[in-house]
């Protein structure tokens, strides 16, 4: 394809919403006020799993400003939240399945009164058996606590079967195996969940919600209220971070607000405290994986066996899609002829887990990339060399038998970080100054962009582009800004297609009544889907405007007929007209200046029985090298620097893309070193930022980021997806660097000082024993 000359795409435009955010004027959900508004607060299950015998608001009633108690009896629609399955009731009738689950709500005149009253509502209950460990849940004699499949306590299971694994292992020259675990990750978006529900006179409901998936909110609210979709309008508020955490669960929060608002007939605001957000909103699934790799004597991978279990918690939500992604990518970005993968999403009596940046991949990537390093060591190969020998290249087959036809730059990425980091020199250095040991480690990953075979029914998106009489442009999309810069990237794509100056283009936050259901803004699909929908909408407008511009230029004396459109200007023979003039002329000619666009992702074919087929339409790629300093006495690891290289197709806005990369790396590093959500006897121990700590300025590593833009022709201006790859490979790169630094393999995330300290002690003891 011929290289296009681009005026807007590929440039670092400032954020469209930068000013209002810098001045503190951006209106997030909690900032919005409506006349006669009341406040709701949740009454939460205090124990892991209970039978509800009664709920009493006798004491709560005495709180000044108390309005009413809301229970399942107030639900006029279906009491089952429509996600993938219907196992999660909006409000439980008989059984609550995890500590922190919303059992009822109270409504009051102020937020403080509502919280106070909620704390005084008494739940009478009986404790029921519960399960904390997902491996226990899979045992035949486990009590049944959940599950939505033919297997007890299982929400989803997948398999990939390819070749003859048993034979591969029999004939292998080298074999390794290991069991790896990763803990929860809390999204830690700075803005907690929240919704405002405003009853409309026609029985409808308008919702203002912080969300990355406004259309999931429509699904939830319509179901809970038992009203038709055309009576539900969801307006996305400025959203203070998502990372997947505002994919599925905002629908639940909004439905709760809507149930309350429907009961009292007044607007109701429901804003979560940080503690509540910890206790009941979605998390990254804890992962457990047992993996085996085999290789021949030249170091080619020949086989891989995986058993992968996700701890899904008390309800299924979207575990199946998370697990599907983990399954497809579970053997790593390598060509392996013989594969046997079995994966399970297991029920436990804990917080339901869901979407989180990386979506089932970081857990398994940590496991398999750690083990790949062990295999390379066993063979006596450099980890980079070993990877280069086995990595997927264009034309080769993934684990699911998908042939990578276009846009794959994985080996180039590895070479890039190898060179920039000085890998070849450093890898055998094992530098030690006092108690500080330095080390370096690598990881690679590939990431299927979009929802893939399991979520393909949702993989479509809409947009509307409207050119006003004064030449300003409104772009409405169904994909959400949550901090990543979608408003700006979408404006750039519209500008590019229309040749409209950036400052004239405004992208609107999502209003579900303006643009048809565009699926969720997740899976790194925002740019790809929303961008393509905008192009679809803008294309006919472009044709019309360019024709008008040509006429105008000829009218003004242009003769060559060769028009160049760039930077918002149309030019012929040195004569120019501006986009604004062209747009005004378009209106004078009574042209249609507003269009809708609709984009559907290419078809993917996939067989669930053997896990073979095209799992995703296209893949993004990453290679990460981490350099660490390990204090061998205290076990404390400091990540000094991360070199990362990404192939995410065309970079629409380098400044925003770099921001995504740096943020993703730090979120990945923070998970790998610090973040440690804990349960004791079914109760969350540290639902706060005091004891669930995230990386701060003093923990951040130095970043060195490289983009290698392998263009993807299906993508908008050949972009793929960016959001998630930066996080995925960080944990294994750090773990491999720790191994390189001090010789110990830590097989669970977080890579806590206590674990490193213990492993070093054990290693030293073993050495002494010899």
């Amino acid at each position: 394809m011929e290289e296009q000359k681009l005026s807007f795409v590929g440039k670092s435009f400032e954020r469209k919403d930068g000013l209002i955010k810098a001045e503190g004027r951006a209106m997030y959900a909690a900032d919005r006020e409506f006349a006669r508004m009341l406040y709701a607060a949740a009454v939460r299950n205090p124990r892991p799993r209970i039978k509800i015998l009664g709920i009493s608001d006798e004491k709560a009633k005495k709180v000044p400003g108390y309005v009413t108690l809301v229970t399942y009896k107030d639900i006029k629609g279906q009491n089952a939240w429509p996600v993938l399955d219907l196992d999660y009731p909006f409000l439980p009738e008989k059984i609550a399945r995890f500590a922190g689950e919303t059992v009822a709500l109270v409504v009051a005149e102020t937020q403080r009164a509502a919280k106070k009253a909620a704390s005084l509502v008494e739940i009478e209950y009986e404790e029921l058996p519960n399960i904390q460990d997902p491996l226990e849940a899979l045992k035949p004699d486990a009590p049944e606590i959940g599950g939505t499949t033919d297997m007890k306590n299982v929400y989803a299971h997948f398999t990939i079967q390819k070749g003859d694994v048993d034979k591969a292992f029999e004939e292998a020259a080298y074999k390794v195996e290991g069991t790896f675990k990763t803990n929860y990750q809390v999204h830690g978006y700075l803005e907690t969940q929240g919704s405002i529900a405003i009853p409309e006179t026609d029985g409808g409901m308008t919702i203002h919600s912080t969300t990355q998936c406004p259309y999931y909110v429509v699904d939830g609210v319509a179901a809970a209220l038992g009203i038709t979709y055309n009576k539900v309008k969801v307006i996305q508020t400025v959203t203070g971070g998502g990372f997947g955490g505002k994919e599925e669960v905002p629908a639940l929060v909004a439905a709760h607000a809507a149930i309350c608002a429907a009961k009292v007939g007044r607007p109701v605001k429901l804003i979560y405290s940080r503690k509540e957000d910890f206790q009941c909103m979605s998390k990254r699934h804890p992962g457990w994986a047992h993996i085996e790799y085999s290789a021949d004597k030249e170091g080619h991978l020949t086989g891989c066996r995986v058993k992968y279990v996700l701890d899904a918690g008390a309800y299924s939500t979207i575990t199946a899609i998370v697990l599907f992604r983990g399954t497809v990518h579970s053997t790593g970005p390598y060509k392996i002829p013989n594969i046997d993968v079995k994966t399970f999403g297991a029920a436990t009596s804990k917080v339901p887990c869901g979407a989180f940046r990386g979506f089932g991949q970081p857990q398994i990537n940590f496991a398999q990339e750690s083990l790949i390093d062990e295999l390379a060591a066993k063979i006596g190969m450099d980890p980079v060399e070993f990877r280069l020998k086995n990595l997927l290249n264009p034309g080769e087959m993934t684990a699911t038998g998908q042939k990578l036809t276009s846009s794959c730059g994985l080996s180039e990425l590895v070479e890039a970080v190898r060179k920039k980091s000085g890998w070849d020199k450093k890898v055998n250095l094992h530098e030690k100054k006092g108690h500080i040991a330095k080390g370096i480690g690598i990881s690679t990953c590939y990431y299927g962009v979009g929802l893939g075979a399991k979520g393909r029914f949702l993989d479509r998106a809409g947009a509307m582009v409207n050119i006003y009489k004064d030449g300003s442009v409104g772009v409405s999309v169904g994909n959400a800004e949550m901090g990543q810069g979608a408003l700006t990237v979408f404006a750039q794509i519209a500008s590019e297609t229309l040749n409209a100056p950036m400052e004239l283009v405004k992208t609107e936050e999502v209003d579900s009544s303006k643009v048809p259901d565009s699926g969720p803004t997740v899976a790194s699909r925002g740019t790809l889907m929303g961008g393509n929908a905008i192009i679809e909408a803008a294309k006919p407008l472009r044709e019309r405007l360019f024709k008008v511009a040509l006429d105008m230029l000829i009218d003004k004396g242009g003769t060559s007929g060769k028009m160049i459109a760039h930077d918002g200007v149309f030019e012929m023979d040195g004569i120019t007209v501006s986009f604004t003039d062209v747009a005004k002329e378009g209106w004078n000619r009574r042209l249609k200046m507003c269009e809708e666009g609709w984009y559907v992702a290419p078809h993917v074919s996939f067989r669930l029985d053997n896990g073979q087929g095209d799992a995703y339409v296209v893949y993004s790629y990453s290679a990460d090298i981490a350099e660490v300093s390990v204090d061998t006495q205290t076990g404390v690891t400091k990540v000094d620097k991360i070199w990362a290289a990404y192939d995410v197709g065309r970079i629409v806005n380098p400044m925003l893309a770099t921001g995504q990369a740096q943020g993703g790396i730090l979120q990945g590093m923070s998970w790998s070193l610090f973040e440690n959500l804990q349960y004791k006897n079914g109760i969350m121990v540290n639902p706060n930022f005091t004891d669930y700590v995230c990386a701060t300025t003093k923990d951040k590593p130095e970043y060195d980021i490289t983009f290698i833009e392998k263009l993807y022709d299906e993508g908008p201006y050949q972009a793929k997806g960016m959001g998630e790859v930066p996080l995925i490979g960080v944990a294994p790169a750090v773990a491999n660097a720790i191994k390189n630094a001090c010789g110990v393999r830590i097989d669970s995330v977080p890579l806590l000082p206590e674990k490193v300290w213990r492993a070093i002690k054990q290693k030293n003891a073993a050495k002494e024993a010899k």
Binding site: E23, Y189, G659, T696, T697
Partner: protein
């Protein structure tokens, strides 16, 4: 300054007397009014955010007599007789945007924006106190401000750029 006349006899009401964003405010408020509620609900200054309610994230930072404090942990009694500045009161010396706001926008230091007011407040407090703050000073000063989007790199460099801009601008040199 606080004195006996500042409270009703049953101590339920505080005769608040303070300055908010340069404006003198006198009014009666319940003595136990949380400062964040006073700022956000009573004054309608919603730029100050509640991120955690426990002083751990810094989204609620305001300047009290020029120092950054976590408003989510305070009550109105803490600002009696003092000068409070919220993000809405952060302005350049000649009006318009403050150099911190300009560089945060220009250099991509803002993503979701929820932590931004608090980080700008913390940075302003530092640069007032220490106009020649080093990168290390900036890092240390911002350890109480969680940002989950940016990885901090662009935040730190934006503060450095603003520092340099302010150092080169005579309007800022003669700061208080």
């Amino acid at each position: 300054m606080p004195c006996n006349e500042t409270m009703k006899k049953d101590f339920s009401v505080l005769h608040l007397d303070c300055t908010v964003n340069g404006k003198h405010i006198q009014r009666d408020v319940p003595s136990n009014r949380a400062l964040l509620d006073f700022i956000r609900l009573d004054l309608g200054l919603t730029g100050t955010k509640e991120g955690c309610g426990e002083g751990e994230c810094g989204a609620c930072l305001v300047l009290l007599n020029g120092r950054a404090v976590n408003s989510c942990l305070m009550t109105v009694s803490h600002i009696q007789g003092k000068e409070l500045v919220t993000i809405e009161g952060i302005r350049g010396r000649k009006g318009g945007l403050h150099p911190l706001q300009e560089t945060f926008m220009k250099e991509g230091a803002i993503q979701c924006g929820f932590c931004t007011p608090g980080i700008i407040i913390a940075s302003e407090a530092l640069l007032r106190r220490k106009p020649d703050a080093t990168l290390e000073d900036i890092k240390l000063e911002l350890t109480g401000n969680l940002c989950r989007c940016t990885g901090y790199e662009k935040v730190l460099s934006a503060v450095e750029t603003a520092r340099d801009k302010m150092a080169a601008d005579p309007d800022y040199k003669e700061a208080e």
